[in-house]
Amino acid sequence: MDMQFVNSFKSYQKVGNFWCDLYPLTKMIICFSVGLSTIVVADWRYGFAWCLFYFLFAALAGCGKKFAKVFLVLFVVIGLFLTVIRQIGARDVNTTVMFSLFGWKWHLESFVIAMNINSYMLGFAGAVLLFFNTTAMRDIMYSFEMLGVSHETSFIMLSSMQNIIDLRKTSVTILESQKSRGIETDGNVFLRIKAFFPTIGPLMLGAFSSTEEKSIAMDARAFSVDRKHTYIRELEPMTGKEKLLSAAFVVALVALLAARILLSILK
Protein backbone atom coordinates (compact mmCIF):
# COMPACT_ATOMS: atom_id res chain seq x y z
CA MET A 1 0.00 0.00 0.00
CA ASP A 2 1.29 3.41 -0.95
CA MET A 3 1.18 5.01 2.50
CA GLN A 4 2.70 8.21 1.24
CA PHE A 5 -0.33 8.63 -0.97
CA VAL A 6 -2.72 7.75 1.85
CA ASN A 7 -1.03 10.21 4.20
CA SER A 8 -1.23 12.94 1.58
CA PHE A 9 -4.90 13.23 2.53
CA LYS A 10 -3.97 14.19 6.05
CA SER A 11 -2.76 17.61 5.02
CA TYR A 12 -4.13 20.15 2.57
CA GLN A 13 -3.80 19.21 -1.08
CA LYS A 14 -0.80 20.98 -2.61
CA VAL A 15 1.05 20.55 -5.84
CA GLY A 16 3.88 22.90 -4.97
CA ASN A 17 3.09 25.54 -7.54
CA PHE A 18 2.20 29.05 -6.44
CA TRP A 19 -0.56 29.63 -8.97
CA CYS A 20 -2.08 26.13 -8.82
CA ASP A 21 -2.11 26.07 -5.05
CA LEU A 22 -4.20 29.20 -4.76
CA TYR A 23 -7.71 28.52 -3.53
CA PRO A 24 -10.06 28.06 -6.51
CA LEU A 25 -12.07 31.13 -5.56
CA THR A 26 -8.94 33.26 -5.40
CA LYS A 27 -7.96 32.11 -8.85
CA MET A 28 -11.46 32.76 -10.08
CA ILE A 29 -11.56 36.28 -8.71
CA ILE A 30 -8.17 37.11 -10.18
CA CYS A 31 -8.96 35.64 -13.58
CA PHE A 32 -12.34 37.29 -13.86
CA SER A 33 -11.03 40.68 -12.68
CA VAL A 34 -8.27 40.58 -15.24
CA GLY A 35 -10.60 39.32 -17.95
CA LEU A 36 -13.15 42.02 -17.27
CA SER A 37 -10.46 44.67 -17.04
CA THR A 38 -9.43 43.96 -20.62
CA ILE A 39 -13.01 44.74 -21.67
CA VAL A 40 -13.01 47.91 -19.62
CA VAL A 41 -9.73 49.14 -21.04
CA ALA A 42 -10.35 47.82 -24.57
CA ASP A 43 -6.92 48.73 -25.77
CA TRP A 44 -4.81 46.26 -27.72
CA ARG A 45 -1.62 47.06 -25.85
CA TYR A 46 -3.24 46.30 -22.49
CA GLY A 47 -5.19 43.24 -23.67
CA PHE A 48 -2.36 41.57 -25.51
CA ALA A 49 0.04 42.20 -22.66
CA TRP A 50 -2.27 40.14 -20.45
CA CYS A 51 -2.52 37.47 -23.10
CA LEU A 52 1.23 37.10 -22.86
CA PHE A 53 0.91 36.82 -19.11
CA TYR A 54 -1.67 34.06 -19.52
CA PHE A 55 0.83 32.05 -21.49
CA LEU A 56 3.41 32.65 -18.83
CA PHE A 57 1.08 31.59 -16.02
CA ALA A 58 -0.10 28.52 -17.86
CA ALA A 59 3.49 27.54 -18.55
CA LEU A 60 4.42 28.08 -14.91
CA ALA A 61 1.44 25.99 -13.85
CA GLY A 62 2.68 23.19 -16.03
CA CYS A 63 -0.09 23.19 -18.57
CA GLY A 64 1.44 25.57 -21.08
CA LYS A 65 1.07 23.25 -24.02
CA LYS A 66 -2.56 22.39 -23.37
CA PHE A 67 -3.44 26.04 -22.84
CA ALA A 68 -1.46 27.26 -25.84
CA LYS A 69 -3.12 24.76 -28.15
CA VAL A 70 -6.65 25.96 -27.41
CA PHE A 71 -5.76 29.60 -27.01
CA LEU A 72 -3.85 29.80 -30.27
CA VAL A 73 -6.78 28.30 -32.13
CA LEU A 74 -9.04 30.94 -30.57
CA PHE A 75 -6.48 33.57 -31.41
CA VAL A 76 -6.35 32.66 -35.07
CA VAL A 77 -10.09 32.07 -35.52
CA ILE A 78 -11.44 35.09 -33.60
CA GLY A 79 -8.54 37.31 -34.55
CA LEU A 80 -8.65 36.67 -38.25
CA PHE A 81 -12.42 36.85 -38.41
CA LEU A 82 -12.69 40.20 -36.61
CA THR A 83 -9.80 41.70 -38.50
CA VAL A 84 -11.26 40.86 -41.87
CA ILE A 85 -14.77 41.95 -40.84
CA ARG A 86 -13.39 45.29 -39.67
CA GLN A 87 -11.63 45.84 -42.96
CA ILE A 88 -14.92 45.37 -44.78
CA GLY A 89 -17.01 47.58 -42.50
CA ALA A 90 -16.27 50.94 -40.81
CA ARG A 91 -15.07 52.72 -43.96
CA ASP A 92 -15.57 56.30 -42.72
CA VAL A 93 -12.63 56.26 -40.29
CA ASN A 94 -10.23 54.79 -42.80
CA THR A 95 -7.58 57.19 -44.06
CA THR A 96 -4.24 55.43 -43.91
CA VAL A 97 -3.61 52.57 -46.28
CA MET A 98 -1.35 49.88 -44.84
CA PHE A 99 -1.03 47.65 -47.89
CA SER A 100 -3.03 46.39 -50.78
CA LEU A 101 -4.11 42.80 -51.27
CA PHE A 102 -4.97 42.11 -54.93
CA GLY A 103 -6.35 45.62 -55.16
CA TRP A 104 -8.14 45.42 -51.79
CA LYS A 105 -6.81 48.21 -49.59
CA TRP A 106 -6.23 47.46 -45.91
CA HIS A 107 -6.53 50.46 -43.63
CA LEU A 108 -4.61 51.05 -40.44
CA GLU A 109 -7.50 52.62 -38.49
CA SER A 110 -9.80 49.69 -38.99
CA PHE A 111 -6.95 47.41 -38.14
CA VAL A 112 -6.39 49.12 -34.79
CA ILE A 113 -10.09 48.98 -33.95
CA ALA A 114 -10.08 45.29 -34.80
CA MET A 115 -7.05 44.75 -32.61
CA ASN A 116 -8.75 46.49 -29.70
CA ILE A 117 -11.82 44.33 -29.97
CA ASN A 118 -9.60 41.29 -30.40
CA SER A 119 -7.67 42.18 -27.32
CA TYR A 120 -10.64 42.15 -25.03
CA MET A 121 -12.37 39.19 -26.66
CA LEU A 122 -9.22 37.17 -26.28
CA GLY A 123 -8.30 38.82 -23.02
CA PHE A 124 -11.54 37.65 -21.44
CA ALA A 125 -11.66 34.25 -23.12
CA GLY A 126 -8.03 33.66 -22.21
CA ALA A 127 -8.65 34.46 -18.55
CA VAL A 128 -11.54 32.00 -18.41
CA LEU A 129 -9.49 29.42 -20.24
CA LEU A 130 -6.59 29.91 -17.89
CA PHE A 131 -8.83 29.47 -14.88
CA PHE A 132 -10.35 26.22 -16.10
CA ASN A 133 -7.02 24.91 -17.32
CA THR A 134 -5.30 25.42 -14.03
CA THR A 135 -8.16 24.50 -11.72
CA ALA A 136 -9.65 21.02 -11.53
CA MET A 137 -13.43 20.86 -11.72
CA ARG A 138 -13.56 18.92 -8.45
CA ASP A 139 -11.65 21.73 -6.73
CA ILE A 140 -14.06 24.31 -8.09
CA MET A 141 -17.00 22.28 -6.85
CA TYR A 142 -15.27 21.76 -3.51
CA SER A 143 -14.97 25.48 -2.99
CA PHE A 144 -18.59 25.96 -4.05
CA GLU A 145 -19.70 23.29 -1.60
CA MET A 146 -17.82 25.14 1.10
CA LEU A 147 -19.86 28.19 0.17
CA GLY A 148 -23.03 26.17 0.69
CA VAL A 149 -23.80 24.81 -2.75
CA SER A 150 -25.56 21.47 -2.32
CA HIS A 151 -23.89 18.11 -2.56
CA GLU A 152 -26.35 17.12 -5.28
CA THR A 153 -25.52 20.07 -7.52
CA SER A 154 -21.87 19.31 -7.15
CA PHE A 155 -22.47 15.66 -8.02
CA ILE A 156 -24.47 16.55 -11.11
CA MET A 157 -21.77 18.93 -12.33
CA LEU A 158 -18.95 16.48 -11.77
CA SER A 159 -20.70 13.41 -13.06
CA SER A 160 -21.88 15.12 -16.22
CA MET A 161 -18.23 15.79 -17.02
CA GLN A 162 -17.55 12.09 -16.61
CA ASN A 163 -20.68 11.21 -18.57
CA ILE A 164 -19.36 13.06 -21.57
CA ILE A 165 -16.16 11.03 -21.45
CA ASP A 166 -18.10 7.80 -20.94
CA LEU A 167 -20.52 8.61 -23.71
CA ARG A 168 -17.63 9.04 -26.10
CA LYS A 169 -16.16 5.73 -25.03
CA THR A 170 -19.50 3.97 -25.40
CA SER A 171 -20.08 5.45 -28.82
CA VAL A 172 -16.76 4.00 -29.95
CA THR A 173 -17.74 0.57 -28.61
CA ILE A 174 -21.14 0.74 -30.25
CA LEU A 175 -19.61 1.74 -33.54
CA GLU A 176 -17.20 -1.18 -33.22
CA SER A 177 -20.04 -3.51 -32.44
CA GLN A 178 -21.95 -2.39 -35.53
CA LYS A 179 -18.81 -2.74 -37.62
CA SER A 180 -18.32 -6.21 -36.30
CA ARG A 181 -21.75 -7.17 -37.56
CA GLY A 182 -20.81 -6.16 -41.06
CA ILE A 183 -22.18 -2.62 -41.22
CA GLU A 184 -19.77 -0.64 -43.34
CA THR A 185 -18.52 2.42 -41.49
CA ASP A 186 -15.37 3.26 -43.38
CA GLY A 187 -15.61 5.05 -46.68
CA ASN A 188 -17.42 8.09 -48.04
CA VAL A 189 -19.44 10.58 -46.06
CA PHE A 190 -22.73 9.02 -47.07
CA LEU A 191 -21.66 5.63 -45.74
CA ARG A 192 -20.46 7.15 -42.52
CA ILE A 193 -23.73 8.99 -41.95
CA LYS A 194 -25.64 5.81 -42.71
CA ALA A 195 -23.54 3.90 -40.21
CA PHE A 196 -24.01 6.59 -37.62
CA PHE A 197 -27.75 6.06 -37.15
CA PRO A 198 -27.61 2.58 -35.67
CA THR A 199 -25.37 3.93 -32.93
CA ILE A 200 -27.73 6.63 -31.65
CA GLY A 201 -30.37 4.32 -30.19
CA PRO A 202 -28.12 2.21 -27.99
CA LEU A 203 -26.19 5.28 -26.93
CA MET A 204 -29.19 7.24 -25.70
CA LEU A 205 -30.94 4.28 -24.16
CA GLY A 206 -27.79 3.10 -22.48
CA ALA A 207 -27.40 6.51 -20.91
CA PHE A 208 -30.98 6.48 -19.64
CA SER A 209 -30.95 2.99 -18.21
CA SER A 210 -27.65 3.50 -16.46
CA THR A 211 -29.03 6.57 -14.70
CA GLU A 212 -31.50 4.47 -12.77
CA GLU A 213 -28.85 1.98 -11.69
CA LYS A 214 -26.47 4.74 -10.84
CA SER A 215 -28.93 6.42 -8.55
CA ILE A 216 -29.48 3.12 -6.74
CA ALA A 217 -25.74 2.63 -6.46
CA MET A 218 -25.20 6.13 -5.11
CA ASP A 219 -28.04 5.67 -2.68
CA ALA A 220 -26.26 2.56 -1.40
CA ARG A 221 -23.28 4.80 -0.71
CA ALA A 222 -25.33 6.91 1.68
CA PHE A 223 -25.53 9.73 -0.83
CA SER A 224 -28.86 10.95 0.42
CA VAL A 225 -28.03 10.75 4.12
CA ASP A 226 -28.50 14.20 5.54
CA ARG A 227 -25.42 14.66 7.70
CA LYS A 228 -22.44 16.91 7.69
CA HIS A 229 -20.03 15.51 5.15
CA THR A 230 -16.38 14.79 5.64
CA TYR A 231 -13.99 15.70 2.86
CA ILE A 232 -10.90 13.55 2.83
CA ARG A 233 -9.45 15.72 0.13
CA GLU A 234 -9.20 19.21 1.59
CA LEU A 235 -7.93 22.44 0.12
CA GLU A 236 -6.36 25.09 2.23
CA PRO A 237 -8.98 27.79 2.82
CA MET A 238 -8.24 31.28 1.53
CA THR A 239 -5.32 32.60 3.54
CA GLY A 240 -5.01 36.25 4.58
CA LYS A 241 -2.55 36.87 1.79
CA GLU A 242 -4.91 35.40 -0.76
CA LYS A 243 -7.77 37.50 0.48
CA LEU A 244 -5.59 40.57 0.16
CA LEU A 245 -4.52 39.57 -3.34
CA SER A 246 -8.10 38.97 -4.48
CA ALA A 247 -9.21 42.25 -2.96
CA ALA A 248 -6.40 44.08 -4.74
CA PHE A 249 -7.51 42.73 -8.11
CA VAL A 250 -11.12 43.64 -7.50
CA VAL A 251 -10.15 47.12 -6.36
CA ALA A 252 -7.97 47.55 -9.43
CA LEU A 253 -10.85 46.51 -11.66
CA VAL A 254 -13.22 48.94 -10.00
CA ALA A 255 -10.64 51.70 -10.28
CA LEU A 256 -10.16 51.02 -13.98
CA LEU A 257 -13.90 51.07 -14.51
CA ALA A 258 -14.23 54.36 -12.65
CA ALA A 259 -11.40 55.89 -14.64
CA ARG A 260 -12.95 54.71 -17.86
CA ILE A 261 -16.35 56.21 -17.02
CA LEU A 262 -14.74 59.41 -15.88
CA LEU A 263 -12.74 59.68 -19.12
CA SER A 264 -15.78 59.18 -21.29
CA ILE A 265 -17.71 61.83 -19.30
CA LEU A 266 -14.83 64.30 -19.64
CA LYS A 267 -14.71 63.76 -23.38
Binding site: I174, S177, S180, R181, G182, I183, P202
Partner: protein, 229 residues
Protein backbone atom coordinates in the same frame (compact mmCIF):
# COMPACT_ATOMS: atom_id res chain seq x y z
CA UNK B 1 -10.09 -19.38 -21.66
CA UNK B 2 -7.90 -17.41 -19.35
CA UNK B 3 -7.84 -14.73 -16.71
CA UNK B 4 -9.29 -11.27 -17.18
CA UNK B 5 -6.65 -9.28 -18.99
CA UNK B 6 -4.98 -12.31 -20.53
CA UNK B 7 -5.70 -10.98 -24.01
CA UNK B 8 -8.72 -13.03 -25.00
CA UNK B 9 -10.92 -10.22 -26.23
CA UNK B 10 -8.07 -8.51 -28.07
CA UNK B 11 -7.32 -11.82 -29.72
CA UNK B 12 -10.85 -12.40 -31.00
CA UNK B 13 -11.17 -8.78 -32.06
CA UNK B 14 -8.24 -9.44 -34.37
CA UNK B 15 -10.06 -12.38 -35.90
CA UNK B 16 -13.02 -10.13 -36.52
CA UNK B 17 -10.96 -7.35 -38.07
CA UNK B 18 -11.80 -4.86 -35.32
CA UNK B 19 -8.18 -4.85 -34.28
CA UNK B 20 -5.44 -5.16 -36.86
CA UNK B 21 -2.21 -6.79 -35.82
CA UNK B 22 0.60 -4.26 -35.42
CA UNK B 23 2.95 -7.03 -36.40
CA UNK B 24 2.31 -10.24 -38.28
CA UNK B 25 -0.87 -11.17 -40.12
CA UNK B 26 -4.30 -12.51 -39.38
CA UNK B 27 -5.64 -14.59 -42.23
CA UNK B 28 -9.27 -15.67 -42.43
CA UNK B 29 -9.95 -18.24 -45.15
CA UNK B 30 -7.04 -16.90 -47.15
CA UNK B 31 -7.99 -13.24 -46.69
CA UNK B 32 -5.54 -11.00 -44.86
CA UNK B 33 -7.50 -8.79 -42.46
CA UNK B 34 -5.15 -5.90 -43.13
CA UNK B 35 -6.33 -5.68 -46.72
CA UNK B 36 -10.08 -5.46 -46.09
CA UNK B 37 -12.45 -3.32 -44.05
CA UNK B 38 -13.76 -4.56 -40.73
CA UNK B 39 -17.24 -4.90 -42.18
CA UNK B 40 -15.89 -7.13 -44.92
CA UNK B 41 -14.13 -9.41 -42.46
CA UNK B 42 -17.16 -9.32 -40.19
CA UNK B 43 -19.23 -10.97 -42.91
CA UNK B 44 -17.00 -13.98 -42.50
CA UNK B 45 -16.49 -13.76 -38.76
CA UNK B 46 -19.44 -12.61 -36.66
CA UNK B 47 -18.67 -11.36 -33.19
CA UNK B 48 -21.28 -11.14 -30.46
CA UNK B 49 -20.20 -8.56 -27.90
CA UNK B 50 -20.38 -9.27 -24.23
CA UNK B 51 -22.88 -6.49 -23.69
CA UNK B 52 -25.92 -6.84 -25.97
CA UNK B 53 -26.97 -3.27 -25.29
CA UNK B 54 -24.06 -2.02 -27.34
CA UNK B 55 -25.33 -3.87 -30.35
CA UNK B 56 -29.11 -3.85 -30.40
CA UNK B 57 -30.74 -0.76 -31.92
CA UNK B 58 -33.97 -1.77 -33.58
CA UNK B 59 -37.30 -1.36 -31.88
CA UNK B 60 -38.48 -4.95 -32.19
CA UNK B 61 -36.62 -8.20 -31.86
CA UNK B 62 -37.63 -9.36 -35.31
CA UNK B 63 -36.44 -6.19 -37.04
CA UNK B 64 -33.16 -6.48 -35.16
CA UNK B 65 -32.65 -9.99 -36.49
CA UNK B 66 -33.72 -9.02 -40.01
CA UNK B 67 -31.50 -5.97 -40.10
CA UNK B 68 -28.30 -7.55 -41.41
CA UNK B 69 -29.95 -9.80 -44.05
CA UNK B 70 -31.82 -6.71 -45.32
CA UNK B 71 -28.62 -4.70 -45.25
CA UNK B 72 -26.99 -7.36 -47.43
CA UNK B 73 -30.10 -7.33 -49.68
CA UNK B 74 -30.73 -11.03 -49.26
CA UNK B 75 -33.86 -12.26 -51.12
CA UNK B 76 -36.98 -12.35 -48.94
CA UNK B 77 -37.31 -16.14 -48.95
CA UNK B 78 -33.73 -16.80 -47.97
CA UNK B 79 -33.96 -14.11 -45.31
CA UNK B 80 -37.01 -15.72 -43.81
CA UNK B 81 -35.21 -19.04 -43.68
CA UNK B 82 -32.23 -17.51 -41.93
CA UNK B 83 -34.32 -15.59 -39.44
CA UNK B 84 -36.37 -18.68 -38.61
CA UNK B 85 -33.22 -20.67 -37.99
CA UNK B 86 -31.71 -17.95 -35.82
CA UNK B 87 -34.90 -17.71 -33.77
CA UNK B 88 -35.12 -21.46 -33.44
CA UNK B 89 -31.54 -21.76 -32.23
CA UNK B 90 -31.79 -18.97 -29.69
CA UNK B 91 -35.28 -19.89 -28.47
CA UNK B 92 -36.67 -16.36 -28.53
CA UNK B 93 -39.81 -16.97 -30.52
CA UNK B 94 -42.13 -15.55 -27.90
CA UNK B 95 -40.27 -12.23 -27.85
CA UNK B 96 -40.24 -11.58 -31.62
CA UNK B 97 -42.51 -8.56 -31.57
CA UNK B 98 -41.33 -7.14 -28.27
CA UNK B 99 -39.04 -4.18 -27.86
CA UNK B 100 -35.61 -5.60 -26.98
CA UNK B 101 -35.43 -3.24 -24.02
CA UNK B 102 -38.51 -4.77 -22.45
CA UNK B 103 -37.01 -8.23 -22.22
CA UNK B 104 -34.63 -9.33 -19.47
CA UNK B 105 -30.93 -8.79 -19.95
CA UNK B 106 -29.94 -12.47 -20.22
CA UNK B 107 -32.47 -12.99 -23.00
CA UNK B 108 -31.39 -9.80 -24.73
CA UNK B 109 -28.08 -11.57 -25.15
CA UNK B 110 -29.83 -14.21 -27.22
CA UNK B 111 -31.32 -11.48 -29.39
CA UNK B 112 -27.82 -10.20 -30.09
CA UNK B 113 -26.68 -13.72 -30.93
CA UNK B 114 -29.67 -14.28 -33.22
CA UNK B 115 -28.91 -11.05 -35.08
CA UNK B 116 -25.38 -12.27 -35.77
CA UNK B 117 -26.53 -15.76 -36.77
CA UNK B 118 -28.97 -14.29 -39.28
CA UNK B 119 -26.10 -12.56 -41.05
CA UNK B 120 -24.76 -16.06 -41.66
CA UNK B 121 -21.06 -15.74 -41.06
CA UNK B 122 -18.77 -18.77 -41.46
CA UNK B 123 -17.41 -18.25 -37.95
CA UNK B 124 -19.17 -16.93 -34.87
CA UNK B 125 -17.41 -15.60 -31.81
CA UNK B 126 -19.33 -15.43 -28.54
CA UNK B 127 -17.84 -13.28 -25.79
CA UNK B 128 -18.76 -14.70 -22.39
CA UNK B 129 -22.25 -15.82 -23.34
CA UNK B 130 -22.80 -17.76 -20.10
CA UNK B 131 -22.34 -14.79 -17.77
CA UNK B 132 -25.58 -14.28 -15.87
CA UNK B 133 -27.38 -17.17 -17.60
CA UNK B 134 -29.50 -19.55 -15.60
CA UNK B 135 -29.92 -23.27 -16.21
CA UNK B 136 -32.30 -22.79 -19.10
CA UNK B 137 -30.06 -20.16 -20.69
CA UNK B 138 -26.97 -22.32 -20.42
CA UNK B 139 -28.84 -25.26 -21.93
CA UNK B 140 -30.07 -23.11 -24.80
CA UNK B 141 -26.51 -21.98 -25.44
CA UNK B 142 -25.31 -25.55 -25.51
CA UNK B 143 -27.93 -26.61 -28.04
CA UNK B 144 -27.30 -23.44 -30.03
CA UNK B 145 -23.63 -24.28 -30.38
CA UNK B 146 -24.48 -27.78 -31.50
CA UNK B 147 -26.99 -26.42 -33.98
CA UNK B 148 -24.50 -23.99 -35.43
CA UNK B 149 -21.98 -26.78 -35.78
CA UNK B 150 -24.55 -28.78 -37.76
CA UNK B 151 -25.02 -25.77 -40.01
CA UNK B 152 -21.29 -25.82 -40.68
CA UNK B 153 -20.51 -22.73 -38.62
CA UNK B 154 -17.37 -22.71 -36.50
CA UNK B 155 -18.03 -21.39 -33.02
CA UNK B 156 -15.39 -19.73 -30.84
CA UNK B 157 -16.35 -18.84 -27.32
CA UNK B 158 -14.68 -16.88 -24.59
CA UNK B 159 -15.85 -18.26 -21.31
CA UNK B 160 -15.02 -18.47 -17.63
CA UNK B 161 -17.44 -21.33 -17.12
CA UNK B 162 -15.37 -24.51 -16.93
CA UNK B 163 -18.29 -26.92 -16.95
CA UNK B 164 -19.71 -25.22 -20.00
CA UNK B 165 -16.37 -25.37 -21.81
CA UNK B 166 -15.80 -29.03 -21.06
CA UNK B 167 -19.30 -30.04 -22.04
CA UNK B 168 -19.50 -28.18 -25.32
CA UNK B 169 -16.10 -27.76 -26.91
CA UNK B 170 -13.68 -30.08 -28.61
CA UNK B 171 -10.74 -27.77 -28.49
CA UNK B 172 -9.68 -25.36 -25.79
CA UNK B 173 -7.15 -22.59 -26.21
CA UNK B 174 -5.76 -21.22 -22.96
CA UNK B 175 -4.33 -17.71 -22.79
CA UNK B 176 -2.19 -16.10 -20.13
CA UNK B 177 -0.02 -13.00 -20.10
CA UNK B 178 -1.13 -12.00 -23.63
CA UNK B 179 -0.05 -15.35 -24.99
CA UNK B 180 -1.46 -18.73 -25.91
CA UNK B 181 -0.04 -21.15 -23.36
CA UNK B 182 -1.95 -24.28 -24.27
CA UNK B 183 -4.14 -25.51 -27.07
CA UNK B 184 -5.79 -28.89 -27.28
CA UNK B 185 -8.29 -31.41 -26.06
CA UNK B 186 -10.16 -30.43 -22.85
CA UNK B 187 -8.80 -33.50 -21.06
CA UNK B 188 -5.20 -32.62 -21.76
CA UNK B 189 -5.78 -28.99 -20.85
CA UNK B 190 -7.54 -29.52 -17.54
CA UNK B 191 -5.25 -32.29 -16.39
CA UNK B 192 -2.13 -30.32 -17.19
CA UNK B 193 -1.57 -28.88 -13.71
CA UNK B 194 1.00 -26.42 -14.97
CA UNK B 195 -1.43 -24.86 -17.41
CA UNK B 196 -4.23 -24.83 -14.86
CA UNK B 197 -1.93 -23.07 -12.41
CA UNK B 198 -0.52 -20.53 -14.79
CA UNK B 199 -3.81 -19.54 -16.41
CA UNK B 200 -5.63 -19.60 -13.07
CA UNK B 201 -8.36 -21.77 -14.49
CA UNK B 202 -10.05 -24.54 -12.55
CA UNK B 203 -10.97 -28.08 -13.31
CA UNK B 204 -14.69 -28.74 -13.54
CA UNK B 205 -15.94 -30.04 -10.23
CA UNK B 206 -15.94 -33.68 -11.30
CA UNK B 207 -12.28 -33.30 -12.29
CA UNK B 208 -11.52 -31.81 -8.90
CA UNK B 209 -13.16 -34.75 -7.15
CA UNK B 210 -11.25 -37.22 -9.34
CA UNK B 211 -7.99 -35.48 -8.52
CA UNK B 212 -8.73 -35.42 -4.84
CA UNK B 213 -9.46 -39.13 -4.61
CA UNK B 214 -6.62 -39.99 -6.93
CA UNK B 215 -8.51 -41.52 -9.85
CA UNK B 216 -6.34 -41.59 -12.96
CA UNK B 217 -7.34 -41.34 -16.59
CA UNK B 218 -7.97 -37.60 -16.83
CA UNK B 219 -11.58 -37.87 -15.74
CA UNK B 220 -13.79 -34.86 -16.52
CA UNK B 221 -17.29 -36.28 -16.70
CA UNK B 222 -19.59 -37.71 -14.11
CA UNK B 223 -20.27 -41.06 -15.81
CA UNK B 224 -16.56 -41.75 -16.22
CA UNK B 225 -15.92 -41.10 -12.59
CA UNK B 226 -18.82 -43.29 -11.48
CA UNK B 227 -17.56 -46.06 -13.74
CA UNK B 228 -14.08 -45.95 -12.31
CA UNK B 229 -15.15 -46.25 -8.71
Amino acid sequence: MGQNGAGKTTCVKMMNGLNRPTEGDVIIDGVNTKEKTTAFIARMVGYVFQNPDEQIFNSTVISEIEYMPRYFKIPEEEMKRRVDRAVELTDIKKYLHTNPLDIPYPIRKFVAIAAVIAAKPRYIILDEPTAGQDKHGTETLASLIKGLEEDGVTVLTITHDMDFAVANFKRIVVMAHKNVIADGDPRDIFWNEEVVQEARIKKPQIGEIAKKIGVGGKVLFCDELVERL
